[in-house]
Symmetry: C2
Subunit: 398 residues, 2 copies
């Protein structure tokens, strides 16, 4: 075959590749933007399902991610890479366009999530075993800092509630040490650690408000929450909402609510009550409770639509086939949906026109129009749990 | 040359393409995420400069966009396409990865900006000549709806202050008709129009708050602002801030401030005074003025860092070589910067760790660290004006 012929046949081949959205010579890669991509955790089979929120389809799958129960995900600031934190301590970097694992390290024995720095350069994971935080180069996954949560000689605490803060900083809570630490990784070879001690018994999860100002940890060992105003000249831990918790007469709690899901809408925060069938409404100026909204079960995730006009709630067993929608103007339920069995997670599209809801036991992801509350589409995904969209890369504390 | 040799030489060629981040066979295309891309308007030469906010570099240029004075840009929800609205009525779709114009229409005689619907399907432009709004299919740039701003038989108004609202809706102001219209393009063949009349004399620009709730138009013909609470059961226009404007004794105004830049941080909004060397502070619950901050000149853009902890201000002539930084906790200036001559625009990176500032007459874009306020880098760009990053695709009203 002569050169001219070869080139001619190559040229003929181009349109068919183009029709598939594929580039010649790179059958696995696709030329496209990454702003409307996302992932759904396949909890049972260690697989990441890649989704497109414009076409509302599953566009690929990446197996081999290990134990994905309670897995969470952050994204590189360009939206090309997902970083998946597995329960088994695996940290996996997945290229969403090549649809493959590009790097993977077993970084701990037992892990429960992570965060990425605002500049996208550092990925941090929070570990139960051994207790502490490890910080990795986001590009290479090389370990650049190891910060054991050693609160007494030889004693390491489980770490929970890890969030990113502006300026290559992270905040997290030490379950066994009743402490909150803020680390500054501007120079990863010399990590600065600021310790807040005696913040309350057994912080079990935490969140940072969308502006990065208030770090708030839930307490397992007592009622109330610990809060630090990180913008204060001299930040210190203070107690808020002493009525928040399981109370004196311990209620049966089927699942501790996730704090990262807490919704801040306007100047109000919406919190899942613990054990009670209620969502608490809190004024974010005073951090006092200003109302309670009765709901259909023990709330797990309480999430605001990006514009704050609605708050969506899912529940623990036995009510986890339901999702309720709260109108934040009237503080009342406007709709109860039943999208499928075992609703585990919800994720809003970037501007909130839709919400994606996973129903594990029905192997279904439902896409709901948030204006009409009608089902737009249902996708078949095996045992879906967490749903994460790349737009998280542009948001603080997500 | 035989086939084997050809393939071998092709294989040899691959690493060099890969080293450049290019894919073989598509020299102009790049496999990468789009979440950290952006564009800088080259005002003098009709060229769009493509930038990467992670590498902090100019990565390409696309000429041929016509008159780019006062140009503005929105992005497709995947971050692949920029839509550039030129002063001359040109609407240009640019593929940021292929770095080329993919579609271009001359849609009006004189135009001043546009918006994209939350679902990414519709692009709308606001036109002076002929007065009205045209709505295009975002993919093909086919005209799908034409809404002349006909406020009396045969009389068309200039349109200003166009913003996107949830649910394929747009709001805008009619300069010549003292009116605000909200259109619903759910079905582009039958656009619904809601008209608010007598809202105040000569609305000249407008904004929508980040939650999409309050649409606010500045008035050229009198003092005060017109506001509509779009979440109200029966929305109606009301007057706020009667002291806002040029006042009874008309001050010389070198440039009317841009309203879209107004900053909402927490429950306060920061507004550029007209003519006066002041930034006004407004409570967003009551919409009353609660303070004024003296600044170095007549403010043009008043923009909040994404976390709301700082507000950055630039100025009209003769003070347009300066930029000032306001700390929102103390309501005071913490720094005056001089990044170059004729500062025209500022844009924050998605999580706000840096701000990019264009200095037209120094042909320079400065990248400033918002924590340390130090210059991180300077880029040479011919006559830069507006700077727009793809993360705008995930934000309402941007």
């Amino acid at each position: 075959m002569k050169r001219r012929q070869l080139l001619a046949s190559a040229a003929v081949a181009l349109p068919s590749f183009a029709a598939l959205g594929l580039l010649p010579g790179c059958a696995a890669t696709v030329l496209r933007g990454t702003g409307d991509l996302g992932v759904v955790i396949g909890r049972a089979n260690g697989t990441l399902y890649l989704v497109d929120t414009t076409a509302e389809t599953v566009i690929g799958e990446v197996p081999g991610l290990g134990d994905l129960s309670h897995a969470s995900v952050v994204f590189s600031r360009d939206g090309l890479f997902a970083y998946v934190f597995g329960r088994d301590g695996g940290l996996t970097q997945v290229n969403l366009l090549e649809r493959r694992i590009t790097r993977r390290v077993m970084q701990a024995g037992n892990s429960i999530g992570g965060a990425i720095s605002a500049d996208g350069s550092l990925v941090a994971s929070q570990n139960y075993t051994p207790g502490g935080v490890k910080v990795f180069d986001a590009h290479t996954l090389e370990l650049v800092a190891d910060v054991p949560a050693e609160y007494a000689p030889g004693k390491l605490s489980k770490v929970v509630g890890l969030v990113d803060l502006p300026g290559r900083r992270f905040a997290y809570s030490l379950f066994d040490a009743d402490a909150i630490w803020v680390i500054d990784c501007t120079n990863p070879a010399r990590v600065g650690v600021q310790k807040f001690e005696g913040i309350g018994k057994q912080p079990y999860d935490a969140l940072v408000t969308p502006d990065g100002r208030h770090y708030i940890a839930g307490l397992f060992g007592e009622d109330g929450l610990a809060m630090i105003d990180l913008w204060a000249e001299k930040p210190k831990a203070q107690r808020i909402l002493n009525g928040y918790g399981r109370g004196q007469e311990a209620l049966p709690v089927y699942k501790m609510p996730h704090l990262r899901g807490w919704a801040v809408a306007g100047r109000r925060a919406y919190l899942p009550a613990i054990g009670r069938h209620e969502v608490l409404v809190v004024d974010t100026d005073t951090w006092k409770e200003v109302g309670r909204i009765p709901v259909a079960g023990q709330p797990v995730f309480v999430m605001a639509r990006p514009d704050g006009r609605q708050v969506w709630v899912n529940f623990s067993v036995p009510d986890y086939h339901r999702v309720q929608v709260i109108d934040t103007q009237t503080q009342s339920i406007v709709k109860t949906l039943e999208p499928g069995k075992a609703v585990l997670h919800m994720e809003f599209t970037p501007r909130g026109e839709s919400v994606w809801i996973s129903s594990r036991d029905d192997n279904r992801v439902s896409i709901i129009d948030t204006q009409t509350l009608a089902v737009r589409k249902q996708l078949q995904v095996p045992s879906p749990s967490g749903i994460f969209f790349t737009s998280r890369a542009a948001r603080l504390g997500f």
